[in-house]
């Protein structure tokens, strides 16, 4: 999807001027039921402007790579066997940010209704009307998320998925990339009706630069298991937003694997609205600055607004050769959200002294009967463990790899399905093995 940017290539604007430029660059899609949401998002964006590096919420991560008129070129790496290839799942393919029906499976899955935003978006009446841009709008407070507003205003494609039973197979959104200069903007709405269950897999780089929004609405007792390996390309720049709202006793488990990419900002905004709901958000990141720049930012906001709910944030980053990791995570416990069990851990393993980890963990609690904890650590390889492994004949490089996997284990444990977890571990092992030589 080419953009008609007018500013000089490479120069990054910020603030309202950048917002205007972005709105001008992305054509407004023909809007039916999304019209009101798009107009409101556009207005919000005009007020907030796009962030610059002085914005408090972007203090650790310079958004410049998202603001240049053209994305820096990035080609996906050749992958002999795409992740999860052997798994039985329904695959829906986007190429450079545009749905590719020919490359996709027949979108027929019992209990699952699948539509394409580019087609259904023109209709005036649609179930997704109550969701499109709604969670995104709610997620703009207490801090603005202007790239998400831009996405709501301008995204032309994406999926509208409604699940009313237990999905018999995982749904797999595959983001392929063929053009090294492509830019993608996708917006998905996913609604799980009460009691519904689904595993959702997202894979691939999507484009040289991508702005991805997913709004997830979980009805009472619904369960969504979300796994997202973000694809292999050294130059990829991506900002993603996951907005989720959980009804009573709903369960969300979201796990993201990032092993490449020059720039990644993954925001998760979780609104726990129903009693006894459970939300886990986790991420495992391996970053090597030798592949080019590597900046990886997880920004998470979990809001507890109901009784007896559990939330867990587990984020682990392994960084080397000047890679930068960022974690901003907040647990907000609203008045009356008693018996909240909130947990947050963010940890970095620095494999050398050139890499850095910046963390800002926050707790804000307005209820008295809650259990909340957070922790953040930055450390190096444990020399005692390294020696123990080497004393058994394991080479230094292999021993480091084993200790990296050991470090990531708690994040990987957040993947519920053992087979999916094993596949993720295998990819981590491949990444490590490529760098052992």
């Amino acid at each position: 999807m080419a953009r008609e940017g007018q500013a000089a290539a490479g120069r990054a604007l910020a603030g309202p001027a950048a917002a205007e430029a972005a709105l001008a660059a992305w054509p407004a899609p023909k809007a039916g039921f999304t019209a009101a949401a798009r107009a409101e998002a556009e207005a919000r964006l005009r007020v907030a402007g796009l962030p610059g590096r002085r914005d408090e919420y972007w203090r650790f991560t310079d958004p410049a790579p998202l603001l240049t008129p053209e994305p820096a070129a990035s080609a996906p790496l050749r992958v002999d066997r795409p992740i999860f290839e052997g798994f039985d799942k329904l695959r829906l393919v986007f190429v450079d940010g545009v749905f590719d029906a020919a490359a996709s499976d027949d979108p027929a899955l019992a209990g699952v209704e699948i539509a394409r935003l580019a087609e259904a978006g023109a209709a005036d009446i649609h179930w997704a009307r109550g969701l499109y841009g709604v969670l995104e709008a709610a997620g703009q407070s207490p801090v603005a998320r202007p790239f998400a507003a831009l996405n709501t205003a301008r995204a032309a494609d994406g999926l509208l998925i409604r699940v009313s039973g237990v999905a018999p197979r995982p749904l797999h959104i595959s983001y392929r990339q063929s053009d090294p200069g492509s830019e993608a903007m996708l917006h998905h709405c996913i609604r799980l009706e009460p009691g519904a269950e689904m595993t959702l897999i997202e894979t691939g780089t999507a484009a040289a630069r991508a702005n991805l929004v997913m709004e997830v609405d979980l009805g009472e007792g619904a369960r969504l298991h979300h796994i997202r390996p973000q694809g292999r390309a050294h130059g990829r720049r991506v900002i993603s937003h996951l907005f989720a709202r959980l009804g009573a006793a709903a369960r969300l488990k979201s796990f993201t694997l990032s092993m490449n990419g020059a720039f990644t900002r993954n925001e998760a905004v979780i609104d726990i609205a129903g009693d006894h709901a459970v939300a886990h958000v986790a991420g495992a990141t391996l970053g090597d600055g030798a592949d080019g720049r590597f900046v990886h930012d997880d920004t998470v906001f979990v809001s507890h607004g109901a009784v007896g709910c559990e939330s867990r944030q587990v984020f682990k980053k392994v960084l080397k050769n000047g890679a930068t990791g960022v974690f901003q995570g907040k647990i907000l416990v609203r008045p009356g959200a008693q018996k909240t069990d909130g947990y947050q851990i963010s940890q970095a393993l620095l494999l050398d002294e050139d890499s850095q980890f910046l963390a800002k963990p926050e707790l804000e609690i307005y209820a008295d009967d809650v259990k909340c904890s957070h922790g953040s650590t930055t450390g190096a390889i444990d020399e005692t463990a390294l020696f123990y492994l080497r004393s058994r004949g394991v080479t230094r490089a292999q021993a480091v790899s084993l200790l990296v996997l050991s470090f990531l284990a708690d994040a990987i444990a957040e993947i519920e399905d053992a087979a999916l977890a094993a596949e993720v571990v295998a990819r981590l092992e491949d990444w490590l093995a490529r760098r052992e030589a």
Binding site: F387, S391, L403, S406
Partner: protein
């Protein structure tokens, strides 16, 4: 097999000398025991032989079958046949015991130019060795030493030794903290490995272990040196009278 000559070692970061000229020779097929008060340098000796960082060898040599141990990386020493059962085995969360063992075995085999052992053969090999040590399948699946009792950790060390089949085995207080039954298992594990081509250096405080693993030679170590060497009767003497008499006699 193992030849240590005038070994002098200090801490790398401090001016503290720990080994002050240590001589020791273990022949193939022989079992030597080292006894000595706390702080005499027994663990340091075992670490220096295995190649742990933090120590500086200022004098002397240590060879295994003629090869200069001190010039090798820890993993090269292992591949050359050296094994140290740690006094405090290390916990490695998130790495399965089996994965660890298989990685270690195949790394050693690769270093020696041997073919790797396939998953099926490896499983059978480990199960056979584990059974003798009463290590169950559950323990093999767990992360390395995580949540293991003291006895389980020590048995796990012996299992690693049994799987890796080193030619020179050093056991650093493998008996401490073990009850009688666990000690029996450990001793049986060691005895099962005894053969003409393999040497043992057993560091211990207690005669108990030596009742089960009958050593050929017993050394008394104090203040960074071997101060007395004798037969199994020396261990009995320590058991009866402690170190005071022996140390006074050699002072």
């Amino acid at each position: 097999m193992l030849k240590i000559k005038d070994l002098q070692v200090k801490l790398a970061e401090e001016d503290k000398v720990i080994l002050k000229g240590l001589d020791l020779e273990v022949a193939a097929g022989a079992v030597h025991a080292i006894m000595g008060p706390n702080g005499s340098g027994k663990s340091t000796l075992s670490y220096v032989l295995a190649g742990r960082d933090g120590y500086q060898v200022t004098e002397g040599s240590a060879t295994l079958d003629g090869a200069d141990l001190l010039a090798m990386e820890p993993e090269e020493r292992a591949a050359a046949g050296l094994f140290l059962a740690f006094q405090y085995p290390v916990e490695i969360p998130g790495v399965g015991n089996m994965t660890f063992l298989r990685t270690a075995l195949n790394a050693q085999r690769k270093a020696r130019g041997q073919a790797e052992v396939g998953a099926g053969d490896f499983l059978k090999l480990v199960r056979d060795k584990a059974r003798a040590l009463k290590i169950d399948a559950e323990m093999l699946k767990r992360p390395v030493n995580v949540g293991f009792s003291g006895g389980e950790k020590k048995r796990n060390e012996i299992l690693q030794m049994a799987v890796l089949e080193p030619s020179m085995c050093i056991l650093d207080e493998t008996d401490s903290g073990l009850d009688v039954d666990a000690m029996r298992l450990v001793a049986d594990g060691v005895n099962a490995l005894r053969d003409a081509g393999r040497g043992f250096l057993v560091i211990t405080h207690y005669q108990r272990l030596l009742d089960h693993i009958r050593p050929d030679v017993v050394h008394i170590m104090a203040d960074g040196r071997i101060v007395k060497t004798g037969g199994p009767e020396l261990a009995l003497e320590v058991e009866k009278n402690g170190y005071t008499d022996i140390l006074a006699e050699v002072a």
